[in-house]
Amino acid sequence: MKSVQHPRRLSGAVALIGVTALLVSGCTREEASTPSSSGTAEASPGITDTTVSLGISSPLSGATAGPGSCTVAGLDSFLEAKNAEGGFTFGDGKTRKVTLEYLDDAYDPAKAVANFRQLVNKGIFAYVGALGTPTNAAVMPIANQQEVPQVLLTAGAGEFSDDQQANPWTSGFVPTYTTEGAAFGKLLVDANQPITVATLVQNDDYGTGYLDGFQSAIEGSQVKVLDSATYEPTDTSVDGQVTQLAASKADVLLSAVSVTPLQVGVLTKAQSLGWKPRIFLPSNTSTPATVLQPGGAAAYPDVYTPSFAKTPASPAFANDPDVQAYNTAFEQYGSKITKTYTPHCAWSYAEGAVLGEAFSTMEEPTREAFMTSLRSISGFQAPLLLDGITIDTTKEDQAAVFTVNLVRYNGTGYEPVQGY
């Protein structure tokens, strides 16, 4: 009996000491951070004459880990490649190297907030490129209250871009879901013929954004929505919804599903029911290798998706200097973070260039000067963007990229599309 009890007491004591140590270290860290944020130095935290420190929290585990890891890997590739060339030239004439701290939030808003606080305590200059609507929405009020830039977010919800007066420290990078939905609606309207549509959307801002954009585009046209369904991102399967929509026999399915396995499920289920509509996929679940091929997308007459960036693996761009630079940089740096490509890798690489553009006109080492520079970019040809798409941060109610081209799946990759 004694031999059993002693270890228990011992482990209890160890646990107690452990918890106490955690509490103490937690408290001291908090205290230590106070002086640095109320410092009187001219420069903002996280920037010196030779370095600037950036932070990002994205899902690196869980169902959204693929896209999340890419938002770090692509950005890191651009920044490290530029560091290796000597660094970024700033508007104040100094050259600085950029460090990127990244943390995993598993798409959990509570963790994202904790990560944001941790990064700010560590002294980052700006929080950049984070993926996820719910996570960034949770961080937004804190970032604006603490006046820390939370910029070029990889989140398509309108709320990060459509009111820059209310949230001056926040900005979105990728086109909003409304933009994507509207682009598809316009394609159908331009066909100038009666078209029936079924919609399947995620039951949150992501889904409503799509639907709003789509519906405002088709208003008063010959395009009619016959049936709509929603799903929760935590659902095991959306077979029931697809069966329900298939009963409408619509010509077109707008499948605004953000979860990879569920999107594959939509593609396999609809064709197994003998329903083969033209399909519209959102940009974040339209990767050929992970969604279209497993889903057997070639069975459908057409699969469309919005795009604004070049696909680095596509043979069509093999001789493109931007793509070659990306591939070299990704091989060397980004591939240490993830090996699986999603378009987010290309997007966050372009986002690195936008940061560089903002740095180049930033005349003081302060967060205010950075925001001013970042908000005054227009007509900037960032690497990897498709022809005709440029960065414009001067619109007060739009993300940095607010035009998309629609592309069509051709069995292996995507090609530009002219009409329905």
């Binding site: 690196l60 585990s61 869980g62 169902a63 880990a65 693929g66 890891s69 039951n203 369904a229 929603t230 799903y231 929760e232 935590t234 659902d235 095991t236 399967s237 077979d239 029931g240 919804q241 069966t243 329900q244 009963a247 990879t260 396995p261 594959v264 499920g265 396999t268 197994s272 029911l273 003998g274 992970t290 497993p294 057997g296 993830t338 699986t340």
Partner: protein, 293 residues
């Protein structure tokens, strides 16, 4: 009409996924008296072993066999090294320990295979049969068939074999079982081992649809626990039937009741569960616990 049948068939297919994991939960409960929250994570880790075999060029069937063997060993080892320390103590502590295992085992799978969801090959051809206007995928049929076979085997194990009787005795009253000469600790190890092996089967069956990742079964576990409790925690038949019930009711309520729609459809089977449990606390197929004074 075929629309209705189609919804039912889809619901049965989804319900089979819940039922597969629920069976493993029931098995652990039946043989050790515990609820194991790490059941899903153990299943995923074993499924990853099958994935590794397939990646190395082996056939999926070999992967399944290796995964089941791995699962049995993993379950037995965890029982011996970790869970053993909590048996006979406060059951709540043991439950929390299994939640700890859930986090640990998922983390190990994530560290080795990363968190990207990956496509997983299916044991059954990716074809669809059209039966009188209703479409059934061969994969769902296969999953359901295996599930029913396993369920029958488990029922037989517990009802018709001496081993099953011994396992039930140990779960029910470890003290008296030990006094009657039963090897209690080995039987507990065996219970965990078989349950984890069964979890491996469930994982390999559902991975083609869910895509394999360390968190593949996290949400499924919620439904599986619900199915296990609704069916009666000690009844394999109950777990499977309740899994189907949840899948079907969820689909029908979403499609036919406008007020509910897709937003609230998952609440319907859970509301039904509360009603059932109020009327029959032991679950649909569970045996009532009788306490002799």
């Amino acid at each position: 009409m075929s629309y209705f049948v189609q919804l039912v068939v889809d619901g049965l297919a989804t319900g089979s996924i819940y039922g597969a994991l629920a069976l493993a939960i029931v098995l652990v409960n039946r043989s050790t008296g515990m609820i194991n929250f790490s059941q899903g994570a153990l299943a995923v880790l074993s499924t990853f072993v099958a994935y590794a075999v397939v990646q190395a060029g082996g056939p999926l069937l070999l992967g399944l066999v290796v995964a089941v063997a791995f699962g049995v060993v993993l379950g037995a080892v965890l029982e011996r090294l970790v869970v053993r320390r909590f048996e006979g103590g406060d059951p709540n502590t043991a439950v929390v320990a299994t939640i700890g295992l859930l986090v640990l085992v998922s983390g190990i799978a994530g560290a080795i295979w990363s968190y990207d969801p990956r496509a997983f090959p299916s044991l059954f051809p990716n074809e669809t049969l059209a039966l009188g206007g209703v479409f059934v995928s061969v994969r769902s049929l296969g999953t359901t068939a295996v599930l029913v076979a396993v369920m029958v085997a488990l029922q037989l194990l517990f009802r018709a074999t001496k081993l099953g009787l011994a396992m039930r005795a140990v779960a029910d009253n470890p003290g008296s079982s030990a006094l009657s000469g039963l090897p209690v600790s080995r039987l507990l190890m065996l219970g965990w081992g078989i349950a984890a092996g069964l979890g491996a089967v469930a994982g390999v069956l559902v991975a083609p649809q869910l895509f394999i990742s360390p968190t593949m079964l996290d949400f499924t576990l919620v439904y599986a626990l619900a199915a296990a409790i609704l069916g009666g925690l000690d009844s394999p038949l109950g777990a499977v039937v309740a899994g189907w019930f949840i899948g079907v009711v969820e689909n029908l309520a979403g499609a036919y009741v406008d007020v509910i729609g897709n937003d609230l459809k998952i609440a319907v089977p859970f509301a039904a569960m509360i009603v059932v449990l109020v009327l029959r606390p032991q679950g649909l197929f569970g045996r009532r616990t009788v306490v002799r004074v």
